[in-house]
Amino acid sequence: MSKDNKKIIKEATIATTEQITRKYFFKECFSGMGAMALGSMLQGCDWLGNKDSFNNFTNTNPLMARAPHFIGKAKSVIYLHMAGAPSQLELFDFKPDLLKLDGQDCPQSLLEGKKFAFIRGVPKMLGPQAVFKQRGQSGAWISDNLPHLATVADEISFLKAVQTDQFNHGPAQLLMHTGSPRLGRPSIGSWVTYGLGSENSNLPGFMVLTSGGNNPDAGKSVWGSGFLPSVYQGVQCRNEGDPVLFLKDPAGIDRDLRKASIDAINEANQLTYNEFQDPEIVARMAQYEMAFKMQISVPDVMNINDEPAYIHEMYGTEPGKASFANNVLLARKLVEKGVRFVQLFDWGWDSHGTDGTTAVDIGLVNKCRNIDKPITALLLDLKQRGLLDETLVVWGGEFGRTPMQENRDGKTMPFKGRDHHTEAFTTWMAGGGIKQGSSFGETDEIGYSAISGKVTAHDMQATILNQLGFDHEKLTYTSQGRQFRLTDVHGRVINEIIA
C-alpha cells in the first residue's frame, strides 16, 4: 500500500468518525444551538431597526380591522382600471401641435433605439382625434369624449406624466397593481387588506368587479395575494347570476346544517394547524367563516334593484345588465359598507385601429360613453354622501398610446389607432385627501415624452398607501428570507397632488 493510499484511507476514517463520534456531536450541537439562540436574539432586538414594520398576519383572525401607521385621509379605495390602456391623447393630454403634424412621417429622432409593440418602420403622426376644452375653474383639458366628467374636473388631480417600462398589457398591468411585471407578488388591494383588515366583519376587505367582456390580460394574478396569506386576495364578483360562485347552499341543506359542517371542518383544520402551524390553514378557516357570512351579506350588497330611480338615472345603470355602470354603483355600495379596496377592471381600451371597435375615433368614443356618466355619478354620489373625503378614487390604464398612428407590420391600417406607449400617459386621482382641481406633470408638445413631474406605478402605489395611512416602506411581509413591500425598492409619495 503506497503512502498516498494510506493518507486517503486515514482521511476517510476521520471523515466517518466525525459523523458519529460523541465529541463531534456535542460540538455541532453547541454551535448549532448557538446560531439558533443568536438568531432569536437578533430578531428580538430588531437589529435592522425595522421597529415600525409589522408582520400583520394574526393566527386568530387574519381579517380583523387594524390601525394604519399614521392617521390616513382615506379609508377606502376605488381603483378604476381601464384595461387595454386608454389613449391619453384623446382624453386628457391636449396637444394642438400634434394636429399640425398629422399625417407627416414620424421624425427619426423619436424612433431611434426605441421598441414598439406593433409599429415597424416609419409611422405617420396622428393628430388628436377629439375636441378639447378647458374645464372648470382649474382649467383642466378634457376632451368632448368625456362631457360628464368635464363637469367635475375641479374634483380631480391629474397625473400627466406617468411612465412605465412595460409595453405589453399583462406585465404592465401586473406592474401597476403588484409593483412587479412578473407573476408572484401580492396586488395592492391585498397589501391594503393585509394592512387594514376588513372594516365590515361580514364582507371581504378587497373585492373585484370586471366588465367589458373579458378579464384583464394579466389574469387573476392582478388581484392575487402572491406570497401573502391567500385570505387577502381579491374576491371577484360576477355581474350576472350569483355574484360569487359556489356560495349558495346545495338544495336540501339549510343554514344550520351548513354552519354545523363548517364548524366541524374548522375544528379539524384547527387540529392540523396546531400540528403544522401553516398560515394557509388559518386562511382557509377564515375563508370558510367569511363565505358563510357572505351567503347573507353579498346578495344584499350586490343587489342594486332597491336603489332609488334617481340613482339609476344618475349612474346610467340598468339592474340585471352586465355593465361598467352597474359595477361603479356597486363599488359605491361596497365602500359604504366598509370594503377597503374595490377594484374595477373594464376591458376593451386597446385602441390599435385594427377594426372599428379599436379605432380612436369610433370604438374609443363608445368606450368613453360607457364610463363617462357612471364615473361622474360616482364622484358626485360619494360627495353628497360625505364619503368622497375618505374614499380615494383612482383612474388609469397600464400605459399610454403613441402620438404616431399604428402601422402594424409596416402597413397602413384601415382605422385610426395608436400603439402602446410607455413614456408618458395620464392617470388621475380624486377624493381621499387628494388636491381638488390640480394637475401634475407635463409632456412635450406632441405628447411623446414626459418633461416634468414624472411618476411611476410605484409612486402611485406609494401615494395610495400614504393616503390610507401607510408608510409604503414599512408595510412589509417576510417571504423567502427577506422583507418584501409593494413598491419593492422604489416609490415616492407624490406630495404635489396631496391636499
Partner: protein, 465 residues
C-alpha cells in the same frame, strides 16, 4: 488636465484620512509613553510619525491635484493647502526629534501637530460641505423662520424676491462663493450669465434650451440631474417659477407685475402668498396626548360586531364603525361611555338610536367626526349632542332630521362639513343654516348627471369598400 492627475486628485478625500488616523495614533502613543507602564512605546514613535508623514505627503500631492480643477473657494483652499503641507513637515520634524529622544521639543511638536490636524481638517470640511457646515442644521431652522414674507407677489421683484431665495436654498451649496462645482456660480447676475465650464447656462430666454433648466427636469436618477441625488430637490412650484423666469428673458430687475404671466403661474403665485398665512387646519384628531382606552371595553365592543380600533398605531384615539350593528341597547351605551374620552371618529349608519346611546355619544368630548347617515334619530335626540364642540364633520344624510333638530347645535362652531342630503331640511333654508354654522360647507347633495343626446349614441365603423 491630465486624466491621471485628475483621478489621483479624486483620491484626496480618501487619502486624507490616513494621516489624520496615523498621526492621531502617533500623538496618542506619544502621550502614553510618558507613563511608566507604556514607556517602551518610545521605540515605535519615530516610525509612526514617519508613516504619518508619508501619508500626509501623499494627501498633499493628491490635494494639489484636486485643487487644479478650480471648484473651490480660493481663500479657504489657500489655508487648507499650506496647513496641510505644514502638517507633513511637522510630522517629519516629530519623527526626527523622537528618534533623537529630545523629549521636551518632541512634546511641543506633538501638541502643535494635534492643533494643526484639527484646523486643517476643518478647512477641508469647509471646502467639501460649505461654510458653517458644523452648525448648518441649527442655523437652517432659524433661517426658515426668518425667511422674508411676500405679501403681495405682484409687487415683488421676480429675481430678488422669488428666484434668488430658491437658488440660495437649493443651489448655493455648490455654486457660489464657497464652492464652484463645474466652475459655476449662481450668486450674482454676472456669474449666472457667464455660465460654467460647459458654457452659458441660460440660452436666449427659452427654458427648454437652457442647460440650467434642462438639468433640473432631467430624470432624478440621471447623473447630470440637478440638484444631485440626495440633496434637497427643486419642488414643482419652484420649477414652474424658474421656467417662467428663464422664459421671460432672465430678468434680474423687473417686478412680477411688469412681466407676462402665463396661465400656470397664477396658482403658484397665490401659493407663494398663501404660504405666509397659516392655513386653518381642522383637527382630525385632538393634538393633546391621551391614555389608552380601556382594552376590555374595546374587546367587548368588537365582540358584538363593532369595528373599533385606534385611528393609527401612533395614537390612542379611537375610531368606531357600527356598520353591522343597527340596534341600540344599554350595553352598547355603557361600553361607549367607558371609552368616550378616546373616541374621535364615530360611524353609526342606519342605527336605531335609543336615548341611552345618544347620551353616550354626547359624552364623547373629543369627537371630531360623526356619521349617522340613514339613522333613526329624532330631533330631540340630536339636540342632546349640542356640546360636542370639536365636531367638524357631521353626516346626517337620509335621517328624518328637521331644522328643529339641527339649529340648536349652534355650539358646534368648528363644524366645517355638514351633509344634509335626503333629510327633511330643504336647501331653501341654507342661508339660515349657513348663519348658524358660519364655517361649514353645507352639502344638500341631490346631484344629478345631465342627460346628453350623445349618451346613447353608439358609433359604428363605416363600411369600407
Amino acid at each position: 488636465m491630465d486624466p491621471i492627475v485628475n483621478i489621483f486628485g479624486h483620491f484626496h478625500p480618501l487619502l486624507v484620512h490616513l494621516p489624520i488616523g496615523i498621526l492621531l495614533f502617533a500623538i496618542l502613543l506619544h502621550g502614553l509613553s510618558y507613563k511608566k507602564r507604556f514607556s517602551n512605546f518610545e521605540i515605535i514613535l519615530p516610525f509612526t510619525y514617519l508613516i504619518g508623514a508619508i501619508a500626509a505627503l501623499l494627501s498633499c500631492l493628491s490635494g494639489l491635484a484636486l485643487s487644479t480643477n478650480g471648484e473651490y473657494d480660493e481663500q479657504i483652499l489657500f489655508y487648507h493647502q499650506w496647513l496641510g503641507i505644514t502638517v507633513a513637515i511637522v510630522s517629519i520634524v516629530g519623527a526626527y526629534f523622537t528618534k533623537k529622544q529630545k523629549t521636551t521639543i518632541s512634546k511641543w511638536v506633538s501638541i502643535a501637530l494635534l492643533v494643526l490636524l484639527f484646523i486643517t481638517g476643518h478647512y477641508g470640511g469647509t471646502l467639501t460641505h460649505g461654510e458653517g457646515f458644523l452648525t448648518k442644521d441649527a442655523t437652517a431652522q432659524i433661517k426658515v423662520a426668518t425667511k422674508p414674507v411676500i405679501t403681495n407677489t405682484q409687487e415683488a421683484f421676480l429675481y430678488a424676491d422669488i428666484i434668488q431665495p430658491i437658488l440660495e436654498e437649493k443651489c448655493y451649496g455648490c455654486h457660489s462663493k464657497i464652492k464652484q462645482k463645474g466652475k459655476l456660480r449662481l450668486d450674482t447676475k454676472e456669474w449666472i450669465l457667464k455660465g460654467g465650464e460647459d458654457g452659458i447656462i441660460i440660452h436666449n430666454g427659452t427654458a427648454l434650451n437652457s442647460p440650467m433648466y434642462k438639468r433640473i427636469i432631467l430624470d432624478p436618477v440621471d447623473e447630470k440631474h440637478m440638484p444631485p441625488k440626495g440633496k434637497p430637490q427643486i419642488t414643482d412650484q419652484e420649477r414652474i417659477l424658474l421656467e417662467w423666469w428663464i422664459n421671460s428673458g432672465d430678468h434680474f430687475d423687473k417686478k412680477v407685475k411688469e412681466l407676462v404671466q402665463p396661465a400656470n403661474i397664477a396658482p403658484v403665485l397665490i401659493v407663494l402668498e398663501k404660504n405666509t398665512i397659516k392655513p386653518i387646519v381642522n383637527e382630525e384628531v385632538p393634538l393633546n396626548e391621551i391614555k389608552p382606552a380601556n382594552q376590555n371595553s374595546i374587546n367587548q365592543l368588537t365582540k358584538i360586531g363593532v369595528t373599533i380600533l385606534k385611528v393609527a398605531n401612533n395614537s390612542n384615539y379611537l375610531t368606531a364603525n357600527f356598520i353591522t350593528v343597527i340596534k341600540s341597547n344599554d350595553t352598547i351605551a355603557n361600553l361607549i361611555k367607558t371609552v368616550s374620552a378616546n373616541m374621535v371618529w364615530l360611524k353609526m349608519p342606519r342605527m336605531n338610536f335609543s336615548n341611552a346611546v345618544v347620551a353616550a355619544i354626547a359624552s364623547c368630548d373629543s369627537l371630531t367626526k360623526l356619521n349617522i347617515e340613514h339613522a333613526n334619530i329624532t330631533d330631540d335626540q340630536l339636540n342632546q349632542l349640542q356640546n360636542l364642540k370639536r365636531v367638524h364633520y357631521l353626516n346626517l344624510v337620509g335621517t328624518r332630521i328637521t331644522l328643529k333638530g339641527l339649529l340648536p347645535l349652534k355650539n358646534l362652531n368648528q363644524l366645517s362639513e355638514l351633509y344634509l342630503g335626503e333629510t327633511l331640511i330643504s336647501n331653501k333654508d341654507s342661508l339660515l343654516i349657513q348663519k348658524t354654522f358660519p364655517k361649514a360647507k353645507i352639502i344638500f347633495g341631490n346631484y344629478r348627471t345631465q342627460n346628453l343626446p350623445s349618451d346613447t349614441v353608439v358609433l359604428k365603423a363605416p363600411i369600407k369598400k
